[in-house]
């Protein structure tokens, strides 16, 4: 089991980095947010970069669990599961921006050229999550045989791109509505990609 103070530091890191970005985040900001001191911080982490790696790992795990346990998996139909994922993502767009924004998407923009280790961690996190959608996409394709020249992977990554872009625009506009509208566009696209699919009644 992970130590409580370490978990507090990681939670604090998520909050501060998602708010101020990685580079502007001072180690003492995180300590303050976690109500601990630098002594404790450097006891648990070698330095800022190791924290970022741990935070990305922690992020992958916690969000992974969130999506694993999400209700959209209950649909019998694979395409319904995929659309359910979109709806679930849309429902997550609540509260303040740093609460629903993506940690690794924020970090990778800053360090993609300068800190390869963090970039790799961000890539794993994003692409690993995208990969969880590929099974349903493949199954939906097999079932509904849609046309079009695209791969399962490219659609999964497209979905993630729309999400990441929605966060950027939401930050620029300081409003959530753009993100909601975008997910509605995305949902419509996926529905149109599978014209032979008839949506179930109900939510």
């Amino acid at each position: 089991m992970i130590h409580e103070s370490k978990a507090r530091l990681l939670e604090a890191a998520l909050k501060v980095i998602r708010t101020k970005g990685y580079n502007a985040t001072r180690i003492e900001d995180i300590c303050q947010e976690a109500a601990l001191t630098k002594g404790s911080f450097f006891h648990h982490f070698k330095g800022k970069e190791e924290l970022a790696l741990a935070a990305a790992e922690y992020w992958s795990q916690t969000t992974g669990e969130l999506f694993e346990n999400a209700p959209y998996h209950d649909h019998a139909d694979p395409l319904a599961r995929l659309l359910g994922y979109i709806d679930f993502r849309r429902d997550l767009l609540r509260g303040e921006l740093p609460e629903f924004t993506c940690l690794v998407g924020t970090m990778v923009q800053e360090i993609y050229e300068t800190v390869p280790a963090i970039r790799n961690a961000c890539e794993s996190s994003i692409c690993g999550h995208a990969a969880t959608l590929e099974g349903d996409i493949r199954a939906a394709r097999k079932k509904y045989r849609p046309g079009g020249d695209w791969t399962d992977e490219s659609l999964a990554l497209y979905i993630q791109s729309v999400l990441q872009g929605s966060f950027v625009l939401a930050k620029a506009r300081q409003r959530t509505t753009v993100a909601v509208d975008n997910l509605n566009h995305l949902r419509r696209y996926i529905e149109m990609l599978f014209p032979s699919f008839k949506p179930e009644t109900g939510s």
Copy 2:
């Protein structure tokens, strides 16, 4: 007319910020890139924040001109112009990442909560650019009368979101292919949104 050294500093700022992000960019990095000194920098700009605002303004202007003079405006059909824009954006995805990546999209992720003035400038830049698409979208809608519950503005912003998200994913994967695939998905979506449109022959 803008002073040559000031323009050099702005160009240098674009390059460095797009590579390292805003916060990690040191004023001396920019001076070095521009082959000038801090004395010159502080002669032209009050400080880092004023530089960021000037850079955003400069970015809006130069990219504005690029798109104004782009060939996609030559199409007679408004939807062909919109699709031409997508193709044009796809053709821009050449060279190294910092060369085709968006300055203001990069900056806004870092400072959206901490520097309102820069955030406003980024919002203006992105939304101002998006607004240049709305005319063609509106005209295409009038001409082709598509169904669906969406607004001109939301589609324009969706297009920008896909672009911004593509940059994030491209940075994470260190490859351009994701971005190209995404624009192909986006193009397909727009084509499907307007089912009564028959694409012209040719490019």
